[in-house]
């Protein structure tokens, strides 16, 4: 597992903020738990029947291992497994695996070990632009109110904010700016949009 992620994941709100590419932001119950590998044993029994985001590196290791892989795939086929990318996962090295994951994962997530670590912004941008991921990408980890706009523009459409963040203020972030000066996942820069 990546050493840039804390062994204990940052706790998020019970609600998740969803902001579809075409639509308005709103709050919804968070159905997905985030699991991190703690030791060599597999996915704990508590996740047997729930939706869970597993580390991408763990997913890779499971598919490499014939014994356990089938259990994971069985659960995945029920739509109960998504993966989360650590900040230092080089997703471009695993384009094929991510391509094959499109048939299993209802969503993926990218982890922010620290709010001012911007690597996962590029991860989301690459998932959208390069790897053609069109379903949900969730921002997880040290997700604060003032990162939401940037996240929404690079390709995130789902935000599991850190537990202490005010969700009412969070919801108001997305209409702070009505103009932009570079393209983003959500639209062209203003000059192109109006001309």
């Amino acid at each position: 597992m990546s050493n840039s992620n804390p062994t204990k994941l940052i706790q998020s709100h019970a609600q998740v903020l969803l902001f579809p590419r075409e639509g308005k932001p709103f709050l919804a119950p968070n159905e997905w738990q985030v699991w991190d590998v703690q030791d060599e044993s597999g996915l704990p029994a508590e996740y047997a029947n729930s939706k869970v985001l597993v580390p991408f590196t763990w997913w890779r290791s499971q598919l490499d291992s014939r014994h356990e892989g089938s259990d994971v795939l069985t659960k995945a086929k029920k739509g109960q497994i998504g993966v989360w990318f650590a900040a230092d996962d080089d997703i471009l090295q695993h384009a094929e695996l991510i391509e094959s994951g499109k048939q299993y994962w209802p969503l993926v997530a990218a982890y922010f070990p620290l709010f001012r670590d911007g690597r996962s912004f590029s991860t989301a941008a690459l998932l959208r632009d390069r790897l053609g991921w069109s379903k949900e990408i969730r921002m997880i980890g040290d997700v604060l109110i003032d990162q939401l706009l940037q996240g929404a523009r690079v390709g995130f459409d789902s935000f599991a904010l850190r537990h202490d963040q005010n969700l009412d203020i969070a919801l108001k972030q997305f209409d702070l700016f009505t103009v932009t000066t570079q393209n983003s996942w959500r639209g062209k820069r203003s000059l192109l949009a109006i001309s």
């Binding site: 911007g118 690597r119 991860t123 632009d129 990162q147 690079v154 000066t181 000059l191």
Partner: protein, 576 residues
Amino acid sequence: MYKYDHIDQTLVDQRVAQFRDQVARRLNGTLAEEEFRPLRLQNGLYHQRHAYMLRVAIPYGLLSSTQLRTLANISEKYDRGYGHFTTRQNIQFNWITLEDTPHILADLAKVEMHAIQTSGNCIRNITSDAFAGVAGDEYVDTRPVCELLRQWSTLHPEFAHLPRKFKFAVNGAKEDRTVLLCHDVGIELKKNKDGNHGELTNGLTADIYAGGGMGRTPILGSLIKQGLPWQLLPSYLTALLRVYNRFGRRDNLYKARIKILVKALGPEEFARQVEGEWLHLQNGDDNFTRAEWDRVAKHFTKPAYQTLPTLSNEQIIAKANGVDTVAFSRWLERNVKAHQIPGYASVILSLKPHGTVAPGDATTAQMNAIANLADQYSFGELRVTHEQNLVLADVEQAKLFELWQAAKQQQVALPNVGLLTDIIACPGGDFCSLANAKSLPIAKAIQERFDDLDYLFDLGDISLNISGCINSCGHHHVGNIGVLGVDKDGEEWYQITLGGEQGNDAAIGKVIGPSFYADEIPDVITNIINTYVAHRNEDESFIDAYGRLGVIPFKEAAYQNAKKKGKTDKTVGEDA
């Protein structure tokens, strides 16, 4: 100069509103200082020794008289009656309260200014040649590309939290006046007549240098791309920044600049990775369009120059009618530069009068007066140089004497541009909480020691740069003589480097040995200068003499009356 349209104005106004809300959350305690810090830094607000410091962006150093009056007004209303022009062509106010900041930003927005990305780990204010558009040796007027890049980089979402700060410089002249190779990315614009890149290019291409920087690991940038058509800059720079954002080090603040990544990979491998990323981006619609060029370039047309005869120096001096001709001639020699247009010249107003508080400082009254001079003599525009002086770029030669007299009244007419006392210095330990040592008293002591214009003119071109810590805001690495403040067990010491150079022959200076006490520095500089005077050939500049003689004679002279020396130098400091 560039005028905001609805898009620019809306963005800046909305940014003010966003920051107002962030400040309110900080003040009501819902936003912790640690989490507010990057937000305020990205709006130019540092917490310093005494108060907050606000750094206001002056994009590529270009300023209108109206904007300068607003800066003057801010210095009076919210600060202590002065501002400090910086080596990155910005201005800083040193005595700001957090509560006032949103009001100041609102005042700035009214005159098309902001403090966006003047600090923090993001793309900073883009700097360029202070003489862009008027320099006699110019290939390309850099300003339209600078403005396009300013817009492209403003609030760029993917690159809002880079491993470290990121500085662009853009040059388009034969002589480099931007310290191009000491930037994270240096962009050299060229007119390439043989280029075959389609109609949009107009032969305008960019060479890209990456991985230069000062700080504790000074490195000159490496050429990683040649002949890039200008309109492809956004896609190429996106590729470059994406490689850096993903793979630049984040485990160690001091190893996080792009120069460390470029050095670790090697420039060829770094260029290859950028190229690989760019393959996927170069045909996308991130690139600049003809409409964008036209929208911006129309603001950088030539002002309404008159048809005037070119005047010889003798004719210009004759305007003085025999009064003060020696002093006026000196000013013409040092502070007046050649212009593209017959009958015009560019004038550098020196913000380095001898023995004042800080190189690059201007008072409220000076700023207002200089704004008036800009209106009267230079189409209402000014430029800030990276040497921390101001430029009136378009002055009629016939009015130089008149302007000189007016500038003298404001104490901005000292003819010391490019001379030993035209010192570049950061605010240092008097203000900056990062500094190991003070810079300003050192600058003052050296200026007072060499307060003799005859002698300074005899010494000729020589640069002396002072940084209060290894972050190198005072560009000491590229000074012919560099002075670096270091901390040894809580005491302030100063390390001397020699042989640094900016311009086309850019070079990083070499440390000559153990550091000195503050009160030794004027003697050390005197000894170094005396060595030059004793050994120089006719018309040989300091840097050429140093190149010929090597460090030994200068080093011996520097240490001839040195006091006891301390232990190992500690050059620890942190930067934001």
